[in-house]
């Protein structure tokens, strides 16, 4: 109970603020309740299947095997695998950095690692389905369509613009991390 209160302290504060807001500014009551209801409806409808998908991806995607085929010079196949590895992920972008360090350790090529980071940041499959439901298929599909070449171009641009010695330094650094 104590644990729950501590964990939801901020939520309780926000809820209190919301009630206070409704009382102090009654003019906004209808609209505030309408908007919170609109958002809650999307969330309650869309979140359960999205998280089921996230859990299933986490359990079924064979990460170790995929990394083996992502070495430098693995070409289109390695890039595609890196893209899917990132897209099957769960969690915010900053959770991808430690995973990227592991990929470096295991010998994935640098362009592939950058593709992995790009995919993790913006083309995660469960998030795409969520976006599709919340913002419409035109929005979600057009964003996905331009993101795929964009991720590859950004990865290639970084690889070209950063000197080889810097990349070697990053690999050596990743080797020392655990």
């Amino acid at each position: 109970m104590k644990f729950l209160v501590r964990r939801y302290r901020a939520v309780l504060a926000a809820a209190g603020l919301f009630v206070l807001f409704l009382f102090v500014l009654p003019g906004y009551q209808t609209k505030a309740i309408e908007i919170i209801g609109f958002q809650a409806k999307i969330i309650l409808l869309v979140i359960p299947p999205t998280f089921v998908l996230l859990g299933l991806l986490d359990v079924w995607v064979p990460r170790e095997q995929m990394i083996r085929f992502m070495g430098p010079g693995s070409g289109l196949k390695g890039g595609t695998l890196a893209f899917f590895l990132g897209s099957f992920a769960a969690g915010p972008l900053y959770a991808a950095f430690p995973v990227a360090a592991i990929l470096m350790k295991k010998g994935a090529g640098f362009t592939n690692i950058l593709i992995f980071i790009g995919a993790w940041s913006t083309t995660k499959i469960p998030m795409f389905l969520f976006e599709n439901a919340a913002l419409g298929s035109r929005f979600a599909f057009s964003r996905l369509a331009i993101d795929i070449p964009g991720i590859v171009l950004i990865a290639m641009a970084i690889k070209t613009l950063v000197p080889e010695t810097e990349i070697e330094r990053l690999y050596a650094k990743a080797e020392k991390m655990n």
Partner: protein, 160 residues
């Protein structure tokens, strides 16, 4: 309609997983619930705050700041907010949907969503730890520029 597709995909995957391996399916559902529980508190806070802000901002105000006619200035504001803030997509999408309903333009919302996901100013120090200054800054700058292109493209497709 799109929600139905989501349920169908999730249901089909779940059924397939259950037939293949019950133990793994149980682990997956446990993980799903844990992940959900983990994001719930920050999620509810943002939900409440966004609702208050959106209630106060009336349609004309939203349109003025982020509407179709706000043009490049609106895109710039939306993309900067997206680049600086750290909001999980699960919270950002419903808020973005509410903004769209309230009169924001698709181009502006796409700029926000794209820079929110690809650019991380707050997490830059962490990114530098793993990728060094050069790569991290370059990645964020390129991702920000790309987000503006995404905004124009998505806005155009939605308007078709």
């Amino acid at each position: 309609m799109d929600t139905i597709i989501l349920y169908m995909v999730a249901g089909a995957c779940l059924a397939w997983s259950f037939l293949k391996n019950r133990q793994k399916t149980r682990t997956a559902l446990k993980k799903a619930f844990k992940a959900f529980e983990a994001i719930l508190p920050p999620f509810l806070v943002v939900l409440v705050l966004v609702s208050i802000v959106l209630a106060v901002l009336d349609g004309p105000t939203i349109s003025l700041i982020l509407g179709k006619d706000s043009g490049f200035r609106g895109v710039l504001i939306a993309s900067l907010v997206g680049a600086i803030t750290l909001i999980p997509g699960f919270v950002a999408f419903p808020a973005a949907a509410a903004l769209l309903q309230g009169g924001a333009g698709a181009t502006q919302i796409a700029a926000f969503v794209s820079s929110l996901m690809m650019v991380g100013v707050v997490t830059l120090p962490l990114e530098i730890q793993f990728f060094g200054k050069r790569v991290a800054i370059l990645r964020n700058v390129l991702a920000y520029g790309f987000s503006l292109i995404v905004a124009v493209f998505v806005g155009w497709v939605v308007s078709l």
